[in-house]
Symmetry: C3
């Protein structure tokens, strides 16, 4: 456990601990050999001591590519578990001294090395560090906020760290422009944070982060732009008081994210080197984000009750029984959206035989016979609802088994074969995107699916403006976050109070959100 970021280590201590962890998990070498399918390529283990940590010295041929996926997958789990064990022992020591003070640790968004959904049970509340790079899309931070909100099933979280100005370890320590730190602070709140903190109060004169932004700079006094902005934010938060605390966001749409799936998928040797789990999740999230539709990021252990639509992009691994949960969700009237390279393996990364998409075959009503993999320079296309879309990455060649084809490929020997299907299953619908359409397709298709599922956006689309909602028993709070450079106008839908400037708007009255500006409306 030498790496503080939870990365791979292959020292003897870790190797020994890994073997212990495996022994506890599999009990016998027979079971381990079965699950890892070691008969293939003659990898059979005859002694626990023969197991070595995965690395470039064994079967890895690149930092994250290996010819021994199953051991690497378990090593990821082992590492995440070991770090968690370490956290838990610190947690317990602290609780002995201050049992009433909540304990947490600062997570790092979508950090691949640690399965935060497994950690969540051991945090008194979730918290994370948000360090967006200069020019990063606001939707990336939004999705990470929603992950943290989802970790504790919607409970408020804390923005534990952000920089008031620069992040020294970015390649370019570009300054947060005036207003941006405030805007990003309120974005966190809009997504469910009840607290906004900074790293760091005072710039260290030495060590690795001495050029990281701080409330108090090396100059040592408070007469700086950065200090003044922090001070102003503090004043605003003080004036808001406890009004927003504890309010929640109720989403009708959810996206399933699963760390085991992430690991297994990206270790997969085939069918396409360019598959990146988070890219597909973000691509899906962005559609909801752009349309001001709240969305929860949920794990495979979370309940699906109360959602109208659930998206499961690249759900390669379907753990035992999870298909039942999805089937029940759809049968009860829900809309499920998934697609290529989903349902393929079980929790051990062993293929579910009988035809793809394995455990999802039933609910989707299809059989995928073959999958064509396209290099980035090659595209196929299809037409859906009269509109032409390019597609690529993977092209499943499938047969409907109850489902209905909504679009068909237009190129290659499988032209005419379905590119998009829908299966009516019980009272609900299960969509399957057999290929990766372009962004416009995701926008059109997911948008329509959401509307058909009866999901209403929080607000109409405003150029550059993100609109979020939190509610409590008394009030609804609408957050308007202008990430753009232009002033945007919109009209109140009902009588509302603007919390940051105290203004009151009548129904139909126009108000403005300035560049990098924030407006919070309290309704009824």
């Amino acid at each position: 456990m030498s790496n503080e970021y939870g990365g791979e280590c292959y020292c003897e201590n870790c190797e020994r601990a890994f073997r212990e962890w495996l022994r506890k998990k599999y009990q016998t070498l027979e079971e381990l050999n079965r699950v890892w399918d070691t008969a293939f390529w003659g990898h059979t283990f005859y002694d626990w001591e023969e197991i070595v940590s995965p690395s470039l010295l064994s079967e890895h041929f690149d930092m994250e590519r290996t010819t021994f996926q199953w051991i690497s997958l378990d090593y990821k789990r082992f590492m995440s578990d070991s770090m968690l064990k370490n956290y838990r022992s610190e947690y317990e020591e602290i609780k002995k001294i201050s049992p009433d003070i909540p304990v947490t640790t600062n997570l790092m968004g979508f950090y691949k090395g640690l399965d935060y959904q497994k950690w969540a049970a051991y945090l008194d509340f979730a918290s994370w560090d948000n360090y967006p790079a200069f020019g990063a899309p606001a939707s990336a931070a939004a999705m990470a906020h929603d992950l943290n909100r989802g970790l504790k099933q919607g409970a408020p979280f804390a923005l534990m760290e952000q920089t008031p100005s620069v992040t020294n370890w970015h390649p370019y320590s570009t300054l947060k422009r005036p207003g941006v730190m405030r805007l990003l602070s309120f974005q966190a709140i809009a997504h469910g944070a009840d607290s906004v903190l900074f790293f760091q109060m005072r710039r260290s004169i030495g060590a690795s982060e001495k050029y990281h932004g701080a409330v108090i700079d090396h100059v040592g006094h408070e007469n700086t732009r950065v200090f003044r902005e922090v001070q102003a934010l503090g004043k605003e938060l003080e004036e808001l008081g406890e009004r927003l605390l504890g309010s929640r966001t109720k989403a009708q749409a959810a996206i399933i994210v699963d760390w085991d799936n992430w690991w297994a998928l990206e270790y997969s040797a085939g069918p396409n080197r360019d598959m990146r789990y988070l890219e597909e999740v973000q691509r899906c999230y962005n559609v909801f984000y752009e349309q001001n539709i709240p969305v929860d990021i949920i794990s495979v252990t979370d309940s699906l009750e109360g959602y109208s639509l659930v998206a499961a992009p690249l759900l390669y691994m379907v753990k035992e029984g999870y298909e039942k949960k999805l089937e029940a969700f759809v049968a009860g009237g829900g809309t499920l959206i998934t697609g290529f390279f989903s349902g393929i393996v079980d929790e051990h990364d062993l293929v579910c035989p009988g035809g793809y998409p394995g455990r999802l075959r039933e609910v989707l009503g299809i059989w995928v016979e073959e999958t064509d993999s396209l290099p980035p320079e090659i595209q196929n296309s299809f037409t859906w609802e009269g509109k032409y879309y390019e597609c690529g990455l993977l092209c499943d060649i499938l047969h409907t088994r109850g489902a209905q084809a909504l679009a068909a490929y237009e190129k290659e020997f499988y032209a005419g074969s379905p590119a998009l299907t829908v299966n009516r299953y019980g009272k609900g619908l299960a969509y399957y995107a057999a290929t990766r359409g372009n962004e416009e397709f995701y926008r059109d298709f997911l948008g329509k699916a959401a509307r058909d599922a009866g999901i209403m956006p929080v607000w109409e689309k405003l150029p550059g403006v993100e609109v979020c909602v939190r509610k409590n028993a008394e009030h609804t709070f609408l957050f308007f976050l202008n990430h753009g450079e232009e002033t945007v106008k919109t009209a109140a839908r009902e009588c509302a109070q603007s919390l940051l400037d105290g203004a009151c708007y009548q129904k139909g009255e126009q108000f403005e959100i300035g560049p990098k500006g924030v407006v919070i409306l309290q309704i009824s």
Copy 2:
């Protein structure tokens, strides 16, 4: 020997074995120091234990770049020999049990790590695995087939492995389009294979290659396109029966390939980092391939008898006595074609003094005084037989010593100096290309040299169609392999039977080869 692909290992066991191997080869440290020229840079070894395996921990500065070429060259030989030793001990064990069953192992084409020409003696027959990437030129597989045919001096080989559909470890597991698997199977046969096999019968549900193509997919039944194509091929081969078995290809042209040369050349520090042995060999091979001229890939231990033309691209290393073989070949009427950075060193990678091209000086009738090395963005040019060609990589500045200049550089301070020479030596001709002309030059120059040497193509050029020949005592078999997307027509030259569809063509009668199609004509 931890790496199954024969790659470098620097563990203690290998290091110890390497020292043993060296001791056996050189007997004394004095001899080792002499051959490795360790006096330079003070590398002298005073104890066998001082020798360490070459790696990034010693003198390598990149995976395949080193400042200690001679030890790395011997390490390549040691590794190849060690793997061979391992193969041989397995061979012997098997023969004890089944002495009458032929034993082989599946080679991997031009695999740099193993000197297959040295292995060949210990294979009962040659066999290899052909996994061309999507879009790879058909000439690359053709050349690898010819290597395997050459390993046992023309004896039929086996295509041991090919995928019926996808190769999971390619970056993009693109499907073999309908007909392509059949076409590539017949390409193997056309180049001398007597057997065509697959990896794998049934897709494994786990482990590294679970997404590799198989005859029977994870779905578990035979109702798939892939199964049907394999089945159809099996039927065709069954109907062909034993007709083609044992027939051979008699080539008048040969290309010399030598693993020691490959290793030494690419370890060389200077004169040009972009020199790639196989690229130059392929560049040469492609000319014959495009013109339907059969060519043998031979080793430096093979006889040159019976060839009209021998090409030796980048024959940097000329082992003891090999120059005599080449001289005798030319003196007897043969045509030798070689060029820049050839003849420079002996089998120990020690320069043959007295002027470049060292041991080839006599037969080529030139002295290369200097060699200019050009970065890729700089080109020189020359005019040959009235046509202008660009050239680059290396530009030898040479003096004729009996040879005749056929073309001269047009740029730089050595403008006017010969870029191409020919030496009449005995009854034959020895050409020297002092620089790397563009592809058009290779086509024009090698084509003319072949014609002048009386070599006839098997068939005229047909667009996208490769034409090969095999013969036995009774028949000639002509293979027409259409790698293109268009139907191509040609006319029978004499009465012929089309083996795959049973048609009979009279002399002059036209027949078609469809896209990805195969026609085999049996003559007389």
Copy 3:
């Protein structure tokens, strides 16, 4: 010390020696912890044995990037010191045998791994190896020559190694064109070399540099272009005799270079990954070079007396007391030019608190409040003396504290804030460039600053021709080095003797410098 180029090694021996070196330097762990600021991130050392060599196994995340800058900085010092110690023990052994023969070692220009300015005291004279790549600008070699001249405070040095033709370890061993070896030899002399030597006399037949240029090639005789050029140069030098020996170049301008600063700067985590010390030094040097203004490359231990202008690009680290030296220099009438990311830290890489630019605040009369870091695709701009310039990399946002603003940013929220300042301090001027202007700005600005400081070029600008000067008690020697491809004409300013061809020119008489040609004029 396994790496002959002084690179990093992390073997146990080095680790042990490193700990010894640290113990000697810091005496106590308390002091080491203080200086390394280990309190940050909980890095505190409680035992000397806990200290490990910096590498990818500890806190490095790239060859030269680390999250533990301070240990890596000391390791650089330790490595340089250790190599020096090794050199010194060899020096002493040699002196025992031949006390009267000068001893030196061949340096390698701006070699980052070894602090040559610290080594200089132990060399009887400076010497170095000059291997410019094909197409490298002549100013790069010029700056390295001036470094070597500066190592012994202007004393003549030796060009210990150069190739007569090719450098085998360059990616492309391009030939030195006719005349180039002679030109580069005289360039060394023009910059203060009293000796010009070659690597190597005779090409080795084996080992790593067997394709490196040599006076005598593998052919073994002297009938080669290269031999004839070396012979001709030898004859010219013989005819020059001792005339030039010991003559010196008196520069009015100096550029400060400091190895500790180089190391610390490039280890810095922030504010811009693209900061490269030598690039900034070279950028500054080039202005003087192009205008034929001699410049000394000096260390922070060298005296500033006698200089009119001192440039200190990227002087990030200002060692204890050095600010006093700079203040005295300016107060006495000198011109100091520095800029962004200067004056920030002390010799331990600890920030000098109280506001940037730390120890240089006083002499510069400014306070830098913030620094914006720009990725390469983003530029800002300013106008100086009526001319528009683009700028980038870093943009300090500063307040004048006595200094005068000469130009202001034109973009971003800090538009209007000073981009260039000058402070009148005592009798002199201290300039601060708050951002990196484009090359044209450096040319205009440094050129004007030099003229204002009364510095006269040796000669007017001649296209492609470098003009240098050396003097002794009797004579002034002017060197005209034509790096271009065109003949250039200029007129003698006074009666002069042309040493290489014996011609005599009257005042105003025109003479020519041919392509790659050299003219040396001796005056009075």
